[in-house]
């Protein structure tokens, strides 16, 4: 493929491409390489031992499991929120629209604190849930709730513009062709929003995997039960076991990368169909 040399506002492909590679290297690849190098400081047997330690494995399961569940919840409820904001006009709509972004701006420690206050055994909601045997704080449920809160704006903000661009007459066309609302939703609206929803899902998921601040407040950090991988890394660091921390970090990196790659491939496959429309 030839490099495109069309006049544009930002000068020169050479310069911009140079910046792109530089930034990627300096801010993404270099630190990641350092991590891998650090992790490689261990010999192979020790590396395997560290990363397959039951405590570590339990933390992977919790971290990625809770993140997946949270992102899935977000995709459903985030869609409903986006739909409400786009399709209806009601008093206080702008206010709600602004509130969506709050988790973006809030320091994670603050959201953790807030969630603890609500769900603690003597908290606003916790005091009613606890007698029914529903334990939120110091339990995986609490972690999932925290991650859902953190990821929600990602889904809403990616689905919202896609929904705004989805013409209303497409739904009307489906209706005149005899499709039920159910059929229209699953065959017309959802496929059109799929790329945006996958992007939202990816962002929410990636954010959740990396989340640390809010979880430490609500999780209780009980090894094997409510200990997430980022926390485990911190613990290893506190023990001055840099190599072990890096090794666990490498595993996390690998899993995250694999999952993001998978989602991206799904998107690519899906976008192949709509890609031509972007060229118009």
């Amino acid at each position: 493929m030839r490099w495109r040399r069309e006049p544009s506002v930002i000068p020169g492909f050479g310069i911009t491409f140079g910046f792109t590679t530089f930034f990627l290297c300096a801010l993404v690849l270099l630190p990641l390489s350092a991590l891998v190098v650090k992790g490689a400081g261990l010999d192979w047997a020790r590396f395997i031992e560290v990363v397959t330690d039951p405590r570590a494995v339990a933390s992977y399961k919790l971290s990625f499991g809770a993140s997946l569940v949270a992102a899935t919840i977000n995709i459903v409820f985030g869609f409903i929120v986006a739909w409400t904001l786009v399709r209806y006009r009601f008093p206080g709509r702008r206010f709600i629209d602004a509130i969506i972004d709050m988790p973006f701006a809030l320091p994670t420690a603050v959201s953790g604190l807030a969630l603890s206050a609500v769900f603690a055994a003597n908290g606003w909601l916790g005091q009613y849930l606890e007698p029914h045997g529903i334990k939120v704080v110091y339990a995986p449920l609490g972690i999932t709730i925290a991650l859902t809160l953190i990821g929600m704006p990602f889904v809403v903000r990616t689905v919202q513009p896609a929904l705004e661009e989805l013409p209303r007459d497409v739904e009307e066309a489906a209706a005149t062709l005899g499709a039920s609302p159910f059929y229209t939703f699953f065959r017309v609206i959802l496929p059109a929003l799929m790329p945006a929803m996958l992007t939202g899902f990816t962002l929410a998921f990636a954010r959740a995997v990396g989340e640390y601040g809010s979880i430490t407040f609500i999780a209780g950090n009980i090894p094997m039960q409510t200990e997430i991988t980022p926390l485990l890394i911190i613990i290893r660091l506190d023990e001055y076991d840099y190599a072990a921390a890096a090794a666990i970090g490498c595993v996390m990196l690998a899993i995250s990368f694999a999952m993001l790659l998978a989602i991206n491939l799904i998107q690519l496959w899906g976008r192949r169909r709509v890609s031509a429309s972007a060229r118009r």
């Binding site: 013409p167 007459d169 497409v170 009307e172 066309a173 489906a174 209706a175 005149t176 062709l177 005899g178 499709a179 039920s180 059929y183 017309v188 496929p191 059109a192 799929m194 169909r273 709509v274 031509a276 429309s277 060229r279 118009r280």
Partner: protein
């Protein structure tokens, strides 16, 4: 009837966007709804499809009432302006959508798809995505998709709006061929009159939510009944002429154009005539004209458009007779000439020419122009500001004489400025009205400087002889004002009174006449009680009424007006006066 609409009304936030529309479309007919944007034509089409709920009226498709049936069950084919294709589906999947919904077998679906693609000349495009097609091709897919489930009605909402001229033409032809081949009842909405002419078996022209006229393209063009249709359907010069028993007079020039309905002798009436740009003859001298002389004019502007030469002329005499078309008060006239005409008399800007009318059409509308009558300039200026008057004059694109002299009884008919006489409502208005009517005015409009647009136009006549004219005037007003139409009659309160039955019959007659002659849907109200007081009480209960008061006797008009005004001093009243006989009858057969 394939599609039957009965008094369909749709309101948005109280404002009617489709106002009392009744329409029948025959089996296999290609019907075009034509109107400017905001005229309600798209809303009406969507109402037929079931995409819009209507507030009043009924919609029937092939004899069955579908007013309360959803779009899904109506099963009409609908083509949207912006195609509304499913972008993530291929052409094949788009076309098969309706069939898939109906769980048709795959083999049958394929066969039907092939058939449809052949019909719209898109064979071999099955596996393309909409985004890989041009605009014209996408719209063809949309048409094929809409026809897939073999609907009995095809509705198209500005289907060529987003396409360029050449493709538009091509697609127009395709749609006409498809329609003929399938014999499917079709309604197309457009704002493009050329498109309407090219496609339609019949055209319905809409404006301000009302369906003004329905007819074959040729008839509507040659014999429009309303100003709006005359100017919207092709270019038209609207001229004011005087009509009397002898015929038409245009300023000082008598026209030998034949008048269908001569007036009774004595009374002269101002009428609006339509002169198409291509029906104007230009000559160097009056003797060289082969048609009847109208005026002299100078060439102001010339435009070469290929086949035609377009001229803008400024009249040198009879200027007052021209209705300002642009609203800027400039008295100019549009003329088009074909090349042989141009070669016979080459013109350049600044030349003086003589105008002749080859063919004139007199609009049956009773409202021609307005003239404010008041005792002093300040009062005239006040009335000139009245929103109702300003709106009417602007929408009718007609002449508004800002200050005409009040007639004195001695001078008689010659002393009055033609058109609707406008005077200030209030004390003395009833006497002034009688004076104006005696002086030769046919219509008098009473209003205040702050009179706004009415929400109801009410018709009430003192004499059956005036009914016809009252309805005509009200219909003319309602074409330019989006308001409810209401016929009022009074009857004694008693139940079995024979007068009551008679009044009721008169109301129903009026209603059917309004519908037949003016395509106007009206509601009727039988008010119990003594005539003027009961009517006044009823009107007082309405939000913003305008009364059209028909009279055949000046004294009766005067006393009724005085009594109505005592109760409702701020209500605008249009007094319609006809001396016994009917003055202007609408052309039969429309």
């Amino acid at each position: 009837m394939s599609i039957a609409l009965e008094q369909v009304t749709k309101r948005y936030q109280g404002q009617p966007v489709v106002n009392d529309v009744s329409l029948n479309v025959a089996e296999g007919e290609f019907f075009v709804l034509l109107g400017p944007s905001g005229s309600g034509k798209s809303t009406l089409l969507r109402a037929i499809a079931g995409l819009v709920d209507i507030d009043q009226g009924t919609i029937a498709l092939h004899g069955s009432d579908v007013t309360n049936v959803g779009a899904r069950q109506r099963g009409v084919g609908f083509v949207f302006q912006h195609y509304a294709l499913f972008r993530h589906l291929t052409v094949a999947e788009n076309i098969e959508f309706a069939l898939r919904v109906r769980r048709m077998k795959a083999a049958d679906r394929r066969a039907r798809r092939a058939e449809l693609l052949k019909l719209v000349a898109l064979e071999g495009m099955d596996q393309r995505l909409p985004a890989q097609l041009s605009g014209g091709q996408q719209q063809r897919v949309a048409v094929a998709r809409a026809l897939a489930h073999k609907p009995q009605v095809l509705l198209l909402d500005e289907p060529f709006g987003a396409l360029d001229a050449k493709i538009r033409e091509e697609l127009r032809r395709t749609i006409r061929i498809v329609q003929r081949e399938l014999g499917i009842t079709t309604v197309l909405v457009t704002h493009d009159q050329e498109e309407a002419f090219a496609l339609a078996d019949r055209i319905g022209v809409m404006n301000l939510g009302r369906l003004l006229e329905v007819g074959a393209p040729r008839d509507l063009y040659a014999r429009p009944a309303t100003r709006f249709v005359a100017t919207f359907l092709g270019a038209a010069n609207l001229l004011l002429a005087q009509q009397n028993a002898e015929g038409l007079r245009f300023g000082s020039a008598a026209l030998d154009a034949t008048v269908r309905q001569p007036l009774p002798a004595g009374r002269e009436h101002e009428v609006v005539t339509v002169l198409r740009p291509e029906e104007i003859e230009l000559a160097a001298t009056r003797e060289q004209l082969t048609s009847s002389f109208i005026a002299r004019a100078t060439v102001e502007e010339m435009q070469f458009t290929g086949a035609l030469e377009r001229l803008r002329l400024k009249l040198l005499d009879n200027q007052h007779a021209l209705q300002s078309s642009g609203g800027n008060g400039e008295a100019s006239m549009e003329v088009t000439r074909v090349q042989p005409e141009r070669r016979a008399l080459p013109l350049s800007v600044g030349d003086t020419v003589v105008l002749g009318a080859r063919r004139l059409h007199v609009l049956p509308t009773p409202l021609s122009s307005f003239a404010i009558h008041a005792s002093d300039t300040a009062a005239c200026q006040g009335l000139l500001q009245a929103p109702l008057l300003a709106t009417l004059a602007a929408r009718m694109k007609t002449r508004l004489v800002s200050c005409a002299e009040l007639p004195d009884d001695a001078r008689g008919a010659q002393g009055i400025t033609p058109g609707v006489a406008v005077i200030a409502a209030g004390a003395g208005a009833a006497d002034q009205t009688a004076q104006l009517l005696r002086a030769g005015a046919n219509e008098v409009l009473l209003l205040n400087p702050d009179t706004g647009l009415p929400q109801q136009v009410c018709m009430y006549w003192l004499d059956d002889a005036a009914r016809h004219a009252t309805l005509a005037v009200a219909a003319s007003l309602l074409r330019h004002l989006p308001a409810d139409a209401l016929c009022i009659a009074t009857a004694p309160a008693g139940r079995r009174d024979p007068q009551r039955a008679q009044a009721l019959r008169a109301l129903l007659d009026a209603r059917s006449e309004a519908r037949a002659a003016h395509a106007l849907e009206t509601r009727t109200e039988l008010v119990p009680g003594e005539a003027p007081q009961a009517v006044a009480e009823f009107l007082a209960g309405l939000a913003a009424p305008l009364l059209v008061l028909g009279a055949a006797d000046t004294t009766a008009a005067q006393s009724t007006l005085a009594q109505l005004h005592a109760r409702l001093p701020a209500m605008p009243v249009m007094v319609v006066y006809r001396e016994g006989a009917v003055a202007l009858r609408r052309e039969a057969g429309r």
